[in-house]
């Protein structure tokens, strides 16, 4: 389905060749070259290639598989959440509490580990806390009917606050042997567990969003929740499921991060929510819902990872990277809009001339 690509209604001219008989309606019209170039994924891919090339030139250490493998830690955990967040934002909602869910889940796992829980128990607890936190958000948004941005600004403080209440100025740092596999292990060669997990999840999420009836419903809800409801789609239930999914993915990210750090403080993952949202938006997901692809989010994750890693190799301070990411975010969104506007202006002057 190529219709579900970018932005709002494309300002295409009326189909000139409208045919009277439905019998000859083709399945699809050939996309014009300009539209292919306008696709977000292509734009991002070009960007990724440029970043990759610049980095390779700028630092002799960049093109080293182990270094690149280390570099993926810059984004894999955030990107896992980004996958679920993409679906949530496509459906027209948002979850700003994800980083706090990480903290809450990490504290729960730390407490369980201190009580002697096994690795698999910890995994269950991490995912379970994420699920419960997601359910709380989902309940407030879909059943009480509150705007998700406000709800999750509240739960963002609440969840992390609970983590602070439990842990205070203490630290949990005794995790059972084997737990470090999630955040520090390798599957094969330089492929880290986190990276492989993320790629597998990306494929699954991509299939769900782009190829399943569930994904189709999510797009419909994001584009027009009323029409979706009038079409028999259970809007509230699907949104609830998406909040659960985002919670669970935050739980998973928490497992990975906790395992990678080997310790838990309540301040873990502070400020990640905005980075996750930035990644998703950079990936071409419309913040107001209705469009976006998982592929775009995956590429955006790699772009952000490459940029931070490349800057890191040059010892550029992190805050300068964030200037770059901020500008990138605005530019990547503004360019297609401006491009489309220029095209439209050209078209209308042509029509006047004709």
């Amino acid at each position: 389905m190529t219709v579900l690509d970018t932005g709002p209604l494309p300002a295409e001219p009326a189909p000139r060749s409208a045919r009277a008989s439905g019998g000859s309606i083709p399945d699809r019209l050939e996309g014009r070259a300009s539209r292919i170039f306008l696709r977000w994924e292509v734009l991002l891919l070009v960007l990724a290639a440029i970043v990759f090339a610049i980095n390779s030139f700028a630092s002799p250490y960049f093109l080293d598989p182990w270094n690149l493998s280390d570099a993926t830690y810059n984004f894999t955990e955030k990107a896992m959440i980004g996958l679920a967040m993409a679906l949530l934002i496509v459906s027209g909602e948002i979850d700003l509490s994800v980083a706090s869910i990480i903290a809450l889940a990490s504290v729960a796992m730390g407490a369980a580990a201190a009580a002697g829980a096994s690795v698999w128990m910890l995994v269950l607890i991490g995912l379970g806390v994420g699920l419960v936190a997601g359910a709380f958000n989902g309940f407030l948004v879909t059943m009480v009917g509150l705007p998700s941005i406000v709800v999750t600004i509240g739960t963002m403080s609440l969840f992390r606050g609970i983590a602070f209440i439990v842990l205070g100025d203490q630290v949990y740092n005794s995790y059972p042997a084997g737990f470090e596999w999630f955040g520090q292990g390798y599957v094969v060669w330089a492929f880290t567990v986190e990276l492989v997990m993320f790629l597998v999840l990306a494929v699954i999420f991509g299939l769900v969003l782009q190829k399943s009836t569930f994904g189709r419903r999510v797009y419909a809800i994001g584009n027009n929740p009323m029409a979706a409801r009038f079409s028999g789609i259970r809007v509230e239930r699907i949104k609830f499921i998406l909040f659960l999914l985002t919670g669970v993915m935050s739980g998973l990210a928490s497992i990975c991060l906790t395992s990678r750090l080997g310790s838990t403080r309540p301040s873990i993952a502070t400020g990640w929510e905005l980075e996750v949202v930035t990644m998703v938006v950079l990936g071409g997901v419309a913040i107001n819902g209705g469009s976006g692809t998982i592929l775009g989010v995956v590429i955006a994750a790699f772009v952000m990872g490459l940029v931070t890693f490349g800057f890191g190799l040059l010892n550029v301070p992190g805050i300068v990277m964030s200037i770059f990411i901020g500008l990138l975010l605005i530019a990547v969104i503004a360019l297609p809009i401006l491009f489309r506007r220029v095209m439209a202006a050209r078209r209308s002057t042509r029509r006047v001339a004709a």
């Binding site: 250490y61 080293d64 750090l261 301040s267 301070p317």
Partner: protein, 308 residues
């Protein structure tokens, strides 16, 4: 020969204390000759910011990392990896847990610092007796927590000092300020606020001045002469202490160099030369301590304010 590249990884950029340490590091580098100092750190005091930087330092194959940790536990796995890749790792100022470093250079022994804070408080208390509140940085910073623990341990030596509360200003000026106001309101009998953090002590002094309590409540703790000179003049701070951050940076860099070039080895009891400052000796935890903190007051603060 190739330059020895030593990364001086600090808690956060822009902190006057670490900028001074950077000066010391550069001084050491000049003395040692073929050393390049990479001064780096996150913008805010977070562990994950430091971890990302450690990953890029590993990738750059630096020879040594000297780190002042935001979270001594969270950095361990990535620093371990650095050591596995043959990078010398030491911590200084704020320690990394033992498995994550070859040695730790404490600015002074923790016990000495704790004792010093108690002593400063007792000195500031009229008649050496009264209520004292502690304003810390974040609840997660290792060095603050250790010092506060040591302070409490040493309290029996100062029977007049009565610690009533510990609050956290998170090394944020506004939060520290508001917490100080809270102390002043809740504990009207508090005569001294001890802030073993250079951000906190400034904010506390400001809050005391704004509350019009100069002369009734004194602020003390650890801070930089350059930042506190004004407050000493105003009278909200009588005296405070700090070790010399320039020396600290100098020493950390020199030690990192010695270890990275295999001229010395970090093991209990080892003695490591530190250039103009002589030698330091490692204890059973692979820790070394520098000198006693130095106390500053009206008589000398302006002189040192020009330096750091």
């Amino acid at each position: 020969a190739d330059k020895v590249r030593i990364a001086l990884l600090v808690k956060s950029l822009g902190n006057g204390f670490f900028d001074a340490a950077h000066k010391g590091a550069d001084e050491a580098a000049k003395e040692l000759g073929n050393v390049e100092v990479i001064y780096t750190g996150p913008t805010s005091t977070t562990a994950s910011g430091q971890i990302d930087i450690i990953n890029s330092l590993i990738a750059q194959k630096v020879n040594a990392i000297a780190v002042s940790a935001n979270d001594g536990d969270a950095l361990v796995p990535s620093l371990k990896k650095a050591m596995q890749r043959g990078i010398t790792v030491i911590s200084w100022d704020s320690a990394v847990a033992k498995p994550g470093r070859e040695m730790h250079l404490a600015p002074s022994s923790d016990a000495l610092i704790g004792n010093m804070c108690d002593k400063l408080a007792a000195d500031a208390l009229p008649g050496g007796k009264g209520d004292v509140a502690i304003l810390s940085a974040t609840a997660t910073s290792t060095n603050q927590n250790t010092w506060i623990a040591e302070m409490k341990k040493a309290l029996p030596k100062y029977p007049g000092v009565n610690v009533v509360t510990t609050v956290y200003g998170d090394d944020l000026a506004d939060k520290s300020y508001r917490e100080t106001e809270g102390i002043l309101k809740t504990y009207p009998n508090v005569k001294v606020i001890v802030a073993p953090t250079s951000v906190g002590i400034v904010a506390a002094a400001q809050a005391v001045e704004d509350a019009g309590k100069v002369g009734q409540v004194f602020v003390t703790g650890l801070g930089l002469p350059s930042e506190l000179a004004g407050h000493v003049d105003k009278g909200s701070v009588k005296s405070f202490a700090i070790w010399n951050p320039i020396d600290l940076g100098y020493a950390a860099t020199t030690i990192a160099y010695e270890l990275a070039t295999k001229k010395a080895e970090a093991k209990p009891g080892a003695e490591i030369p530190i250039g103009r400052m002589g030698k330091t000796k490692l204890d059973e935890n692979d820790q070394a301590a520098m000198a006693d903190p130095f106390v500053y007051d009206k008589s000398n603060v302006h002189e040192f304010a020009k330096i750091f």
